[in-house]
C-alpha cells in the first residue's frame, strides 16, 4: 500500500469587495456565538460566499456528453430539507467550494495498478460551522464517490455555496486503497459525505446534489435546521 499526502490547490481564493463589506455584519454574529467543541461554531468574518448565485453547469457531468464520466447510480435515501439528523455527523458546514482534487484509488485485487481515481475530494471553506470542531475559514476536504474531477470542476465554479454533512473516513477501509490520503493535505481530517449530504447552490433558488444528480427548487439554506439558522452569515439568512 502506498500512503502519500498531496497538497493541491486547484483554485486561488479571490476576495471580493462584497466579502469585505460583509465583515462587520458577520463579526456581529460571531460575537454572540461560542466555539466549544461539538457545538455549533461561531461565524467568523474571514470569509463569505463569493458566487452563491452562479448556476451550475450540469452538462459538464452529463454522461451522454462524456463517456469517461463514472458518476455512479446510487441506491440512497432522499435528502432531507431541512436536515433532521445533524447530530449523526462530525462536521456540518455551509461554505464555499475552493476546488476539486483527485482522491484515492480503490484496489480491486492484489497487485491492482489500474488507473484511478475512484473518488474526488471537494475542498470547501466553511462560512458557518453548524456542527463539529472545524473552523470558519479553514478548509475541509470531503471525499465524494465521483471520479470525474474535470467534469466536477467545470460544473461547480469556485466560490459556489455548498452544504456538507460529513464523517471522517474509517481508517479500516484504507486497506483497500492505494493512496488513502490523496487529495487531502497532511494533518487534515479526511472526510467523506454521502450523496444525500453534499449539495451546492445552483443559482439562488435551487439545490443540486452532484453525486446523485437530484435537484430541488429551494435555496441552499433550506437544508439548515431552524435552530442552527442563526449561525449562518447574515447575508445567507
Amino acid at each position: 500500500m502506498i500512503t502519500q499526502h498531496r497538497v493541491r490547490r486547484i483554485h486561488p481564493r479571490p476576495r471580493s469587495a462584497t466579502a469585505v463589506v460583509s465583515l462587520a455584519a458577520l463579526a456581529m454574529v460571531a460575537g454572540g456565538c461560542g466555539a466549544a467543541a461539538d457545538e455549533p461554531q461561531a461565524v467568523d468574518a474571514a470569509s463569505a460566499p463569493q458566487s452563491a448565485g452562479v448556476p451550475i453547469n450540469r452538462s459538464a457531468l452529463d454522461p451522454a456528453a462524456k463517456a469517461a464520466v463514472t458518476a455512479p447510480e446510487v441506491n440512497a435515501i432522499d435528502p432531507q430539507l431541512p436536515m433532521t439528523n445533524a447530530s449523526r455527523f462530525s462536521a456540518v458546514v455551509v461554505g464555499k467550494v475552493l476546488g476539486v482534487a483527485d482522491g484515492p484509488r480503490f484496489v480491486d485485487y492484489e497487485g491492482d495498478t489500474e488507473p484511478g481515481p475512484d473518488w474526488v475530494v471537494l475542498e470547501v471553506e466553511p462560512v458557518a460551522v453548524l456542527r463539529g470542531e472545524e473552523r470558519v475559514g479553514d478548509p475541509i476536504h470531503v471525499r465524494l464517490t465521483l471520479s470525474d474531477r474535470e467534469g466536477l470542476e467545470k460544473a461547480i465554479p469556485p466560490g459556489t455555496l455548498a452544504f456538507v454533512a460529513a464523517q471522517p473516513v474509517d481508517p479500516a477501509d484504507d486497506q483497500h486503497l492505494a493512496d488513502p490520503y490523496a487529495g487531502v493535505p497532511a494533518g487534515k481530517t479526511r472526510y467523506i459525505a454521502g450523496a444525500p449530504y453534499v449539495a451546492v447552490a445552483d443559482g439562488p433558488g435551487r439545490i443540486w446534489y452532484p453525486v446523485s444528480g437530484q435537484s430541488y427548487d429551494r435555496p441552499l439554506t433550506a437544508l439548515v435546521p431552524g435552530d442552527l439558522a442563526p449561525l449562518l452569515p447574515a447575508e445567507l439568512r
Partner: protein
C-alpha cells in the same frame, strides 16, 4: 414495520409526502416507458468476480450470488463466476463486486469502470456500503427503517441492494419513489412498488419482490 399514519402526519412526514406527490405526478407518467439509465452491460453473458474487499464477508458474498442467480432466473442474462478480478487473468470480466464506503445515506452503487461506448459499459463495479446498510437496520435516518433489526433483515437488505445495482447494469432505472413500504402500505400499486429498483431500506414486512414483469420484459428487449 410499516410506517404508521401518525408518522406520516409529522411535519417531516408531510414534507416528504409532498415531495412524493410532486415526484409521482412528474415522473410516473413516463415511468412505464423508457427506463434506460444511459448505460448497460455489453451483452447477455456476464462474468463476475469478488474484489478483495469482499474477503471474509460470507453474507455479502452469499447475497451477491443470490442476486446473480435471481438475475439469471428472471431475465435473459447468464452469469459465470471467475476466480480473479485481475484483467490479466480474466480480461473480459463484467461485474466486480465490492464493499466500499460510499458515505452516509448511500447503500450501494453501480459504477462503470470501462466504457465500451457512450452507453455500453464493458465492466461495472457493483458496490455495497456494508456499514451503512447495517447502520440503517437500527436507525431511522431512512424513514422506512423502523430502527430495530429483525431476523433476516440484514440478509434481505444485502440481497435488495445487489439486486438493485445489477438491475442498473441491464438498463433498469430507479423507481420514481424509494418507498419500499409505502406502496404496500397504501396497498394498490402492485408489484412495481416492491421490486429491486426501489431505493432505500427494505423491511421484512414489506412483501419485497424482485424484478417486476415490466422490467423483465425491458431487459429482454434491450439486451
Amino acid at each position: 414495520m410499516r410506517p404508521s399514519a401518525t408518522r406520516l402526519l409529522r411535519p417531516t412526514g408531510l414534507l416528504k409526502a409532498g415531495i412524493l406527490a410532486i415526484v409521482t405526478v412528474v415522473v410516473l407518467p413516463v415511468a412505464g416507458h423508457a427506463c434506460n439509465i444511459g448505460s448497460r452491460t455489453d451483452g447477455r453473458d456476464a462474468t463476475w468476480c469478488f474484489t478483495a474487499s469482499m474477503d471474509g464477508k460470507p453474507l455479502m458474498r452469499d447475497t451477491a450470488r443470490w442476486a446473480l442467480n435471481n438475475l439469471v432466473s428472471s431475465t435473459v442474462m447468464t452469469a459465470t463466476p471467475v476466480a480473479s478480478c485481475d484483467p490479466a487473468v480474466n480480461p473480459g470480466v463484467d461485474y466486480r463486486f465490492a464493499d466500499r464506503d460510499l458515505g452516509a445515506g448511500v447503500y450501494g452503487s453501480a459504477e462503470c469502470q470501462v466504457w465500451s461506448s457512450s452507453t455500453v459499459c464493458g465492466r461495472y463495479r457493483i458496490n455495497a456500503n456494508r456499514a451503512e446498510i447495517v447502520a440503517a437496520l437500527s436507525s431511522t435516518d431512512d424513514m422506512y427503517s423502523d430502527g430495530a433489526e429483525q431476523s433476516g433483515e440484514r440478509e434481505l437488505n444485502f440481497k435488495a441492494n445487489w439486486c438493485h445495482e445489477l438491475g442498473h447494469t441491464v438498463t433498469l432505472e430507479h423507481h420514481p419513489v424509494n418507498f419500499a413500504n409505502r406502496f404496500s402500505y397504501y396497498n394498490g400499486e402492485g408489484d412495481r412498488a416492491r421490486d429491486c429498483m426501489v431505493r432505500g431500506h427494505v423491511e421484512v414486512s414489506s412483501n419485497w419482490l424482485r424484478y417486476n414483469a415490466h422490467h423483465v420484459s425491458d431487459v429482454a428487449s434491450r439486451l
